[in-house]
């Protein structure tokens, strides 16, 4: 592994990493073009919202950054470490530094919240320890702190599938935080949640970026969320970057340019004042 500017993993408070993409193209086995010559530079500690309609390539972009989707051509470097030509071992170590959050939460439903959050420590734990379940006290401590940060510590021993959608996504955020990540990737993290819960989760991500300084990339398709929580806005269409600028300055015209069609009501999530229904983030399941 080549060492970047922030390469030392021994630093207690992990310094954030930047991301560099050079002319990255991703073509799927079925011939679909996921990314078409994307060049991007994301500085350490940035809060980036990536918007685009489904199929625009924003999910491919996120997944190429941690090597879940193999790159056809071009170069990707995270914190100075090359992703596309990393070997299996180096890639695992690199992924250990990159947290990821998914639209469908992707928890193991039949096991405890604690075990799910400890998944965030896998890359830093020898296999024999995980097989015996003997996590180091420091790993357990990190898992507990991450859960406390998203307000889910009391659910430590609950089964993950006994939680509501919003609670599951917060556990998933804790799993990513337990990695002590230098970069956090979020692929449509609020698309399966109702509007009030969506705002709660977006506030969590925003606070992680602000308080911990972690570089955050979040895919969104709702323009009001992107405008509210993004600092930098990247718009994607047909596998290419069609907008790159400040999120606050982006008016409806910018989104019309990104979407290549007039803005509709359904392009927004409801407002934060919560006129739509109950607040599911505080609602218990059952």
């Amino acid at each position: 592994m080549t060492s970047g500017a922030n390469g030392s993993a021994a630093v207690p408070a992990a310094e954030p990493w930047g991301i560099e993409l050079k002319d990255v193209t991703v073509r799927y086995p079925d011939g679909t073009l996921g990314l078409n010559g994307v060049t991007l530079s994301i500085a350490p500690g940035e809060m980036v919202a990536i918007v685009g309609l489904s199929g625009s390539g924003k999910s491919t972009l996120i997944r190429a950054i941690n090597g879940l989707v193999p790159v056809t051509a071009g170069e990707i470097a995270v914190g100075g470490h090359r992703v596309e030509d990393a070997g299996a071992r180096a890639l695992r170590r690199l992924r250990g530094e990159i947290g990821m959050i998914f639209q469908s939460f992707n928890l193991a439903g039949r096991t405890s919240v604690q075990n799910n959050v400890l998944v965030g420590r896998l890359a830093h734990t020898p296999a024999w320890r995980t097989l015996l379940g003997w996590y180091r006290p420091r790993d357990l401590d990190l898992a507990h702190r991450a859960l406390a940060r998203v307000g889910m510590l009391e659910k430590l021993y609950n089964r993950a599938d006994a939680l509501s959608g919003g609670q599951q996504q917060r556990v998933a955020i804790a799993r990513a935080l337990a990695q002590e990540p230098r970069v956090l990737l979020a692929d449509e993290p609020v698309a399966s949640l109702d509007p009030p819960t969506a705002h709660t989760v977006m506030r969590d991500l925003s606070a992680i970026n602000r308080d911990l300084g972690i570089t955050v990339l979040v895919n969104l398709h709702a323009l009001d969320l992107a405008r509210r929580y993004g600092v930098r806005l990247i718009g994607m269409r047909a596998g290419t970057v069609v907008y790159d600028g400040a999120a606050t300055g982006a008016g409806d015209d910018v989104f019309e340019q990104i979407y290549d069609r007039p803005i509709r009501a359904e392009d927004r999530v409801a407002s934060i004042t919560g006129e739509i229904g109950r607040d599911a983030s505080t609602g218990e399941p059952e």
């Binding site: 992707n106 928890l107 995980t130």
Partner: protein, 267 residues
């Protein structure tokens, strides 16, 4: 009745061929059954001619020889032991193999193909045949029976559990890989919790199958109650066979009840 008060039903999806396919299947089975040329040459008339014979034996089966009980205890326990040992060993071998044979937990097509091909072969051979061959290899006794049942168990458990693993959503596995987990770690931390219920289910069912199978393995010299069945059968002691049948039925019912209870508690 396709339109009622102005509503129009959408056109029925095509799929009428299914009905024809069903009819064709019934016709084919009828043909195979009735054609003397293809048939396997049995005549129902023999049932009528020999019914007196059969009725006499059924009559003797209805009166079990209870005094035979002490002699059946040891072989019965041996049968149970064989089944339990074989199920435990077979299940232990099956758990890792199941993940190895499932597409979602083993992306490598070559390794997966080898495991599957071997298991298909293992499953194709009947347990009695394994026992007969193993008796010739390791000698008469419980050992060849246990080995035969282990092979039988692995073939079945791995097939059913690996299919259940493949049917499980893969999101959690992806999250584990994204967090930098190795294949073994991801399987242990994320695939195993979801695989427990089908694994426990199939193992308990396998125990039932193994008790049944262990009862007849003795016919080829592979230990258990089958040896005794073979002896008393050659002396036409239908009353003693009847007792053994009663005992087997009781054992199967007890196992069924216990496994049903365990399933409800564990799954």
């Amino acid at each position: 009745m396709s339109t009622t008060a102005g509503i129009v039903l959408p056109p029925r999806p095509s799929g009428r061929w299914r009905r024809w396919a069903g009819a064709a299947l019934v016709a084919a089975i009828t043909l195979v059954t009735l054609l003397p040329g293809i048939g396997i040459g049995f005549e129902l008339t023999s049932l009528l001619e020999n019914w007196r014979n059969g009725a006499e034996r059924i009559g003797r089966l209805l009166v079990p020889d209870w005094s035979f009980f002490p002699r059946t205890v040891r072989p019965l326990l041996e049968t149970l032991q064989m089944a339990v040992i074989a199920t435990a060993v077979g299940a232990g071998l099956s758990l890792p193999l199941s993940f190895w044979a499932a597409r979602t937990t083993n992306p490598g097509a070559v390794g997966r193909g080898i495991v599957r091909a071997v298991l298909n072969t293992v499953r194709a051979v009947p347990d009695l045949l394994y026992a007969a061959i193993l008796v010739a290899m390791v000698g008469v006794g419980a050992l060849p029976g246990i080995l035969a049942l282990v092979l039988f168990s692995v073939g079945i458990i791995v097939k059913l559990v690996s299919e259940a693993v493949e049917a499980t959503p893969t999101g959690a596995l992806e999250a584990g890989r994204a967090a930098g987990g190795s294949q073994a770690q991801v399987i242990h931390a994320l695939a195993l919790p979801d695989a427990w219920p089908p694994f426990v289910n199939q193992t308990l069912y396998m125990l039932e199958l193994n008790v049944r199978a262990a009862a007849v393995l003795g016919l080829v010299g592979a230990g258990g109650i089958g040896l005794l069945i073979d002896q008393v059968r050659s002396f036409y002691r239908y009353d003693q066979i009847a007792l053994i049948i009663v005992e087997l039925v009781v054992i199967i019912i007890v196992i069924e009840a216990v496994s049903g209870w365990a399933r409800r508690r564990l799954v």
